[in-house]
Symmetry: C2
Subunit: 206 residues, 2 copies
């Protein structure tokens, strides 16, 4: 399983397969097929078989996939068979929604610290967290060896906060600010910007 | 410009180019190159030239791109040289953050109606909106010929609400619920699920 040779676009589909398989398991299903999974996801069964085959042999021709086995294997592939501690930076409306979201833990992530630079917010509660002073962030991330961050700061602050996160040892950043950020090659960054998706879709509208 | 022949993965990068070019224009830049744009986005200049060439001739060899012209052309390509009215369904923490977000309008989208099914919430204010009864939704979307929706309802309600949106004439749905939804072929749907992105990145972490 040489990571370097699996195209990133395939890697990016594995979490989607894992999510749907988990849902099937919750529905009480035991066995599935690439056809069923494909139908539920709107992806061709051939694509699914090809994608999964990059990571190993997970099913036998004709008998389909054992769902709980495949879930376990994909969690291992994605390294979410453990729980990653995550810091959240920025407690505006969006950061607040992220801090309240309960869907992280059973999928491999636990927010452990929430930071903001606004002295009005520092010390206040958001969900289960006390908002911490961002000036403490670098040392605390270093001490706790945290590798994953979610960034919900204003666009104007996104690059400078990212530089601090990288300095502290963060290696994966999910950025909600609608700007492109520069990070060293060793750091992964992905973006969530709803307008990019909306514009992608309006292209196709009459 | 036959839409059917341009790969969706390329279409999906155009909003990113537009966002960065708009930012350059705001910085006062007039001319850029595929090299500069690529450096800022972490995408190769060859990829950018190839992508843009799918949609027309936007620059001359050696002189680069006129930023405001290119912005105007890409807005036209993505059909955001107009403003699309958008409905938001679901006013939990996330829906609340979306309703408060001010970054839609200058990029082609205006939330005009916000719906929820919770009688405690209906009639209350969220940002500039009064939360409306979801039972009014289908008729109001039909009457106002709205084509774009954002869906921030619980996963368990996402499919049934989507079915209503499609029935009402919605043709593009941005779904924040962490589930895969079935829509007819004529309807575009994209998803925002932060955990998919986080799991995509942890694959690469040691």
């Amino acid at each position: 399983m040489d990571q370097s040779i699996i195209p990133d676009i395939i890697v990016g589909r594995i979490p989607l397969y894992l999510r749907e398989l988990t849902r099937m398991a919750e529905e009480g299903k035991v066995i599935t097929s690439s056809h069923e999974l494909g139908r539920r996801l709107g992806i061709s069964s051939a694509q699914i078989r090809k994608d999964l085959s990059q990571f190993g042999e997970f099913g036998k021709q004709g008998t389909g996939y054992n769902i709980s086995f495949l879930v376990e294997q994909l969690r291992r592939v994605l390294k979410v068979n453990k729980v990653w501690n995550v810091v959240l930076v920025g407690v505006g409306d969006l950061g607040r929604a992220i801090a309240h979201y309960t869907g992280f833990l059973d999928r491999g992530f636990r927010i452990t610290k929430v930071y903001d630079s606004d002295t009005q917010k520092i010390g206040q509660r958001v969900g289960d967290f006390t908002i911490r002073d961002v000036t403490l962030m670098v040392n605390e991330i270093r001490r706790e060896k945290i590798r994953v961050a979610m960034l919900a700061v204003p666009a104007s602050d996104a690059q400078s906060v990212t530089d601090l996160l990288v300095e502290a040892g963060i290696r994966a950043i999910l950025c909600y600010a609608p700007v492109s950020i520069n990070v060293p090659e060793k750091v992964k960054i992905l973006y969530i910007d709803p307008v990019l998706h909306l514009q992608h879709m309006t292209y196709y509208l009459p």
